[in-house]
């Protein structure tokens, strides 16, 4: 394991300048997640129109992994259909699932994040099990928000 694998430049970039930061006036769905152990916090607003996530806004505070994961997630889901978003959540969780068998999830153990584009940068978190919940926090918050739509 190396720290450089965890703290990829793209992760640090999203941490320093989070994308889609803010709140939505007329959100279709809202959810808040927090991690009582580390104090990471995420508040997520979605605008859903015609079965598509047309706008995403996030506020939060916490470690680089949780905040970068939120920022990258926001970029990845804006403009996607609800089905595509749900599919992405599944793929992200599969990448972070260090206990499950990658074959069951149909993913390549050498590159568990292959189908995730930029989000693959978070793959290094797998080697730091205590930090996995940080990476997952925005995604479980997103799942909660989708229950509203």
């Amino acid at each position: 394991m190396s720290l450089e694998e965890l703290y990829r430049e793209v992760i640090l970039d999203h941490y320093r300048s989070p994308r889609h930061k803010g709140k939505l006036e007329h959100a279709s769905a809202h959810a808040e997640g927090h991690n009582p152990l580390c104090g990471d916090e995420i508040a997520l607003d979605l605008l859903v129109e015609g079965g598509k996530v047309t706008k995403v806004a996030i506020t939060g505070q916490g470690c680089s992994i949780s905040q970068a994961s939120a920022s990258m997630m926001a970029e990845a889901i804006e403009g996607k259909s609800l089905d595509e978003v749900r599919d992405l959540i599944g793929k992200f969780k599969a990448m972070m699932d260090i206990e499950g068998d990658p074959k069951d999830a149909g993913i390549d153990p050498a590159r568990p994040g292959a189908a995730l584009g930029d989000l693959e940068a978070l793959q290094g978190v797998r080697k730091f099990p205590v930090r996995i919940k940080c990476a997952n926090l925005p995604w479980t918050t997103l799942e909660q928000a989708l229950e509203d739509v």
Partner: protein, 408 residues
């Protein structure tokens, strides 16, 4: 400073962490154990283990003697009048709950106040919240000052006849602050309030005399003072212990059991229901003997020297903020800090890669974290086995973290 050869007594210190020398700087959460403690527990299990008080046979008698000798050692360690005032518990948390439930439920009601401080650990907050729900007693908090000390004047302002309990930490596990507990206890007694002191952090690091502190109840844990987990102490002044009801019922704590009621065994056994932590008590006594052989005043000096060294070294790091008194006046060996642009959890991960174990988070003191405006901090804490080399390793690790995150 304590001779670094004590490090040889701690087997764990010779292991490496991800190929690096271990700099263990999280003793405020739990300390490491010397072989003297491990050996004492091992010897009990190997040579004289049986349940206590029950058997009319030699093994049980020997185990009982060892358990009661541990109580005497604990009493002496904290300056108690008699060993019967020492109750063995699972730890500070259990000790404080025992006071809240055993004394608080009996003696508190509507219109009464429980006065706590803003720097309490959750263990000295949440039990009182539960009791307040049951009794209607109100919780009030004494604030802290801008220089991270207890605002004692404000505390005195809050102290009136309606205050029935004053709960105060003898040393903050976040700020390192050591409040003037003896003065507070004297003032609290003037209005007739019970004084409950959380000694979890003070007991491992400074000489303690419960009589001089003026406490009514004093709680601490074994695992933070070189002893095993699963054991702690509740010390209480005998008159106060007599006012307390047992929180747990069961074997060993009764005089007689009828079908619908029972009578209690004498103190301290009244408050030790069930089979007690026998080996843990023996381990705790070994830890106390180990610390006494070094001398608690030497331990305190050692911690102070390392803390002063660390405060100096850390204050030279740009963007680093320390949450706690910046001089050594009434302050213990705990240093909490943040570094601009790097979250404490990232700091902890990066430092771990360099073999440095520190704590990151709210340290079980959310009200305090909100007060100081840092929901999460990094914390380094020192003990007998730490050296300036550990502090240097921490400082190098912090420079490494800043480099990795590209912060100046």
């Amino acid at each position: 400073m304590i001779d670094p050869s004590v490090r040889d007594d701690f087997p764990i210190l010779s292991r490496t962490i991800r190929g690096k020398r271990l700099a263990f700087l999280d003793s405020a959460a739990s300390s490491q154990k010397p072989r003297q403690v491990l050996d004492a527990m091992d010897e009990l299990y190997r040579t004289k283990y049986a349940n206590v008080y029950r058997g009319a046979y030699l093994l049980s008698e020997e185990a009982t003697t060892a358990y009661e000798a541990a109580r005497a050692t604990a009493a002496e360690f904290i300056g108690a009048d008699t060993a019967t005032e020492v109750i063995f518990t699972r730890g500070t948390t259990t000790s404080l709950n025992m006071v809240a439930y055993g004394w608080g439920l009996e003696h508190l009601g509507e219109g009464d106040k429980i006065l706590l401080t803003m720097m309490e650990h959750h263990a000295n907050v949440v039990p009182w919240q539960l009791i307040s729900r049951h009794t209607g007693a109100e919780l009030v908090y004494a604030p802290i000052t801008d220089d991270y000390r207890l605002d004692v004047d404000a505390l005195y302002q809050l102290l009136d006849d309606s205050v029935k309990v004053v709960g105060v930490t003898a040393m903050s596990n976040v700020l390192g602050t050591i409040p003037p507990v003896a003065d507070i206890a004297a003032a609290a007694h003037q209005v007739g309030a019970l004084v409950v002191v959380d000694g979890a952090q003070l007991t491992p690091h400074e000489p303690v005399d419960v009589q001089a502190l003026g406490a009514d109840f004093y709680a601490f844990s074994g695992h933070k003072m070189l002893g095993p987990t699963g054991i702690g102490v509740l010390w209480g002044r005998m008159e106060r212990l007599e006012e307390m009801e047992p929180m747990e019922g069961g074997g060993e704590m009764i005089a007689d059991v009828q079908l619908h009621s029972s009578t209690w065994a004498p103190i301290p056994h009244r408050f030790e229901a069930g089979t007690p932590p026998i080996a843990e008590a023996v381990g705790l006594a070994a830890a106390m003997n180990y610390l006494s052989a070094i001398g608690m005043d030497q331990v305190a000096k050692h911690d102070a020297a390392l803390t002063e060294y660390a405060l100096g070294a850390l204050s030279n790091i740009g963007g680093l903020h320390i949450y706690g008194p910046d001089d050594m006046q009434h302050r213990g060996g705990v240093v909490s800090f943040t570094v601009d642009g790097i979250h404490p959890h990232d700091l902890a991960t990066i430092l771990d890669g360099d073999g440095v174990a520190i704590r990151a988070g709210h340290h079980c003191a959310r009200p305090l974290a909100r007060t100081i405006g840092a929901s999460s901090t990094a914390r380094a804490s020192f003990y007998v086995y730490n050296t300036t080399e550990d502090v240097d390793q921490l400082v190098d690790g912090l420079h490494h973290a800043k480099e990795l995150f590209g912060v100046a």
